[in-house]
């Protein structure tokens, strides 16, 4: 399956009310767009100290919502938030509970059989986080050990597959969410937590003793993040993709990147200090919704 590159739609002509279908029709009829949000995907989508959902993906989604509102010529569009988890995000997009998922979701070919994705707005890689004291550097160090990853992620799938393929004999615990997985390593139940590196940096920065932790230097997989959309809804995809592309071209995404990855963020005013990597530079220069890791190298 070849993922088609996004056709650059600069400004789609206004669609008249009769030919609206799918989500656009639903949004027009109800005056509501529902965003799927996460509670602990720092800094993409998480709760601040006043229990408000904030983050990089949330800002991008609000940009899309504005574009949808303009496209449908709605006087008022209510933006609702609906909490999702790693495991529930895909079914909730598929069954119409949420219209867009704004979190830290990897775009890959398997997922594209159930959902579709907006142009990539972040690129990360699978790495592990462990206690410095353990002196782990690469996969063979975990032979026969217990490791953890979050249920419902591409990372645990990759980990399970590599474990079977290379006969590493690791015991893999599926954790309920990122915070619990991190706690399993912290409490000594597991040797390492395999996850997207950006999330690991966020967890380490927010931990009690950031100096005790090390994030592995080896990147195992390429994970392009994007806003997730329902599959097979071409009209809705056209509007949302155009909105994201417009935000990339106008430099808005770059500004948001600086705001969330290179300045202090709530709740603990930590600066993650993540430079823009080459894969992301490439993806922002030529917006793409490809789910194939090779297209980002």
């Amino acid at each position: 399956m070849v993922a088609a590159a996004v056709a650059l739609v600069s400004a789609s002509g206004a669609v008249s009310a009769q030919e609206l279908t799918g989500r656009l029709k639903k949004i027009k009829d109800t005056g509501v767009i529902t965003l799927g949000v996460r509670d602990a995907s720092i800094p993409f989508s998480y709760l601040d100290d006043s229990q408000k959902v904030i983050g990089y993906s949330i800002d991008i989604c609000h940009g899309i919502a504005d574009a949808v509102k303009a496209e449908l010529k709605l006087p008022k569009l209510e933006v609702k938030h609906n909490a999702v988890t790693s495991a529930t995000r895909i079914p909730l997009i598929a069954n119409g509970t949420v219209d867009l998922e704004c979190g830290s979701t990897t775009n890959n070919l398997e997922r594209q059989q159930q959902v579709s994705f907006a142009p990539t707005t972040f690129v990360t890689a699978t790495r592990f986080v462990a206690k410095k004291a353990g002196n782990f550097s690469d996969l063979p160090d975990f032979k026969g050990k217990t490791v953890v990853s979050t249920a419902g992620t591409t990372n645990i799938k990759w980990l399970t597959e590599i474990n079977a393929k290379e006969n590493l004999g690791m015991s893999i615990i599926p954790a309920k969410d990122h915070a619990e997985a991190f706690l399993m390593v912290d409490s000594g139940r597991a040797s390492a937590f395999f996850m997207d590196d950006i999330l690991l940096y966020g967890l380490v920065a927010n931990s009690k003793a950031p100096a005790d932790w090390v994030v592995g230097s080896k990147a195992y997989t390429v994970e392009p993040y994007a806003i997730m959309q329902p599959k097979g809804d071409a009209e809705f995809k056209k509007v949302t993709d155009a909105a994201v592309v417009a935000m990339i071209k106008s430099g808005q995404v770059e500004k948001l990147y600086a705001k969330w990855f290179q300045s202090t963020i709530p709740p603990r005013n930590i600066n993650l200090n993540v430079p823009v990597g080459d894969p992301l530079k490439k993806a922002l220069a030529n917006p793409t919704d490809s789910g194939d890791g090779k297209d980002y190298q």
Partner: protein
């Protein structure tokens, strides 16, 4: 609904190297059964003892029994699961805690799950047993004492045989609950049936098929259980006393 149905998914190989998706679900059902049955053994023994204690004459024993029941009945099961798994090892001496944490999966999750479910359900069983004993006419206990039986013998030969018959139907519900509640063990990484269904969803994105299969397996398991318990009720029925053979009041 924007969803691709694929019912053939069960015969595809799952990426964890354990066979097809159907095989992983069946293996999950095995873990669900082992967890539920082991926990049920704990619940039945502990619950019966605590339930009996709460009907004795000793105020201290009754108070302790009541405290036990309230402790395990008033904290959500999910929280208790978390306490057994994450908090208990931290409260023990550090060498012991470290040893517990080093227990390899799945036993590292299986044991806390069994203990948690066992204690939680034992409080509910204790409540049923107490109610069963107190549902008997007061004369039964007095008659036993009048015959010269020791208190322990009164329970053994007079009260408990009848009390357990009375509470068979609600105990069936408790037994079914423990099977369903065992799914909470997935939050501490035990791959029982619901956990397997979730992992199947994660690997294949066929969420509705995975959970349909899990639902059917749970229902089948509980239907077998209901018929087994009905048979037991019939077998244990005392003519003219409570149970399926009685028509009208007692």
């Amino acid at each position: 609904m924007n969803y691709n149905w694929n019912w053939g998914i069960f015969w595809q190989t799952s990426p964890d190297g354990s066979g097809t998706y159907l095989d992983t679900l069946i293996s999950g059902l095995g873990w669900t059964l082992s967890t539920a049955l082991s926990a049920w053994a704990i619940a039945l023994v502990l619950g019966s003892i605590i339930g009996v204690i709460r009907t004795t004459d000793s105020r201290l024993a009754v108070g302790l029994g009541n405290a036990y029941v309230e402790l395990f009945r008033n904290v959500p099961l999910l929280v208790q699961m978390f306490l057994w798994y994450f908090v208990l090892p931290e409260l023990l001496p550090s060498a012991m805690g470290a040893a517990i944490k080093q227990v390899p999966p799945p036993w590292g999750a299986f044991v806390p799950a069994v203990l948690c479910l066992g204690f939680f359900t034992s409080a509910r069983v204790a409540e049923q047993v107490r109610a069963g004993i107190q549902a008997l006419p007061r004369g039964q206990r007095m008659a036993g004492t009048a015959l010269g039986l020791e208190p322990a013998q009164v329970y053994r030969y007079v009260l408990l045989p009848m009390a357990f018959r009375i509470i068979l139907p609600p105990m069936t519900s408790e037994f079914m609950n423990i099977i369903k509640n065992s799914s909470i063990a997935l939050t501490i990484g035990l791959m029982e049936l619901t956990g397997r269904a979730r992992s199947m969803q994660e690997f294949s994105f066929q969420v509705f098929e995975a959970f349909t299969a899990a639902t059917i397996l749970y229902i089948s398991l509980n239907v077998v259980l209901v018929f087994g318990m009905r048979w037991l009720e019939k077998r244990a029925a005392v003519p003219g006393f409570v149970g399926p053979s009685v028509s009208g009041g007692h």
